[in-house]
């Protein structure tokens, strides 16, 4: 019963954080929301009794991918897509 409640909570959080990635206007906020999505996904893997995949997801999804996004956002211009090219 409590396991089902944790599942419902985690899946609801996954849907909410995935919608926040789409909803955010600020790109840094969207990248952080994507990191929260990966963290919740790794918790879901842990609840589904796959701790190996959970550690890999927390290390790569929540850590490295968010850092790559943050570096890319810092290195580019926000209004870069408005030009004709």
């Amino acid at each position: 019963m409590i396991e089902l409640a944790i599942h419902i909570l985690l899946v609801t959080g996954l849907v909410i954080s995935a919608c926040m990635v789409w909803y955010m206007d600020d790109l840094i906020s969207a990248a952080i929301a994507f990191g929260a999505f990966s963290f919740l996904l790794s918790l879901e893997f842990l609840v589904l009794q796959a701790p190996d995949v959970a550690i890999a997801e927390a290390g790569i999804g929540a850590g490295l991918t968010t850092a790559i996004f943050v570096i890319a956002i810092r290195g580019t211009d926000k209004k870069g897509g408005d030009a004709s090219d």
């Binding site: 701790p51 190996d52 959970a54 550690i55 890999a56 927390a58 290390g59 790569i60 850590g63 490295l64 850092a67 790559i68 943050v70 570096i71 890319a72 810092r74 290195g75």
Partner: protein, 157 residues
């Protein structure tokens, strides 16, 4: 270009804990979930956190591209050297030649629920450490190449 003071202080506080957790995952790879790849990714996350919080000039003075390249090569050579040394001991490729030989890693892992003895497993902890060094170098090199290309002055390697 660099982050705010809050991000820098958070990175300074968090980095040693992430490093210790990564080394824990690598060293306990033959006993518990995780292993070389996951632990190396966690250690690389600690380095990446430092690179995100500080600018490229501050990081690249103490952490050059050659160190990460050499650590990747060292990890791969340790992995394949450990596997090839089994041939000289009369075993097959990847044979467990450390088992029942010396004081280090000589006893097999206990069957069932293990008591957590680190000094077991033969070549498996050595291979885990080799993979950890390799993944740490590769992922750090990836981020460092991306960070160096940000200003457009990265040497095209």
């Amino acid at each position: 270009m660099s982050m705010s003071n809050l991000v820098r202080s958070g990175a300074n506080i968090l980095m040693p804990f992430i490093l210790v957790f990564g080394f824990y995952i690598v060293v306990h790879g033959h006993l518990s979930p995780g292993g070389g790849f996951q632990g190396g990714a966690v250690i690389a996350t600690a380095i990446v956190l430092l690179m995100v919080a500080y600018s490229c000039d501050e990081v690249c003075t103490s952490l050059s591209k050659n160190i990460l390249k050499n650590s990747e090569t060292l990890g791969l050579l340790l992995f394949i050297g450990t596997a090839l040394f089994a041939l000289t001991a009369g075993l097959a490729f990847f044979g467990n030649w450390i088992l029942d030989t010396g004081p280090l890693f000589a006893t097999p892992v206990a069957f069932g629920i293990n008591p957590g003895n680190l000094n077991t497993g033969g070549i498996v902890p050595v291979l885990n450490i080799a993979v950890g060094i390799e993944v740490l170098g590769a992922m750090g090199l990836l981020i460092l190449a991306m960070l160096g290309g940000m200003k457009g002055d990265g040497d095209a390697e």
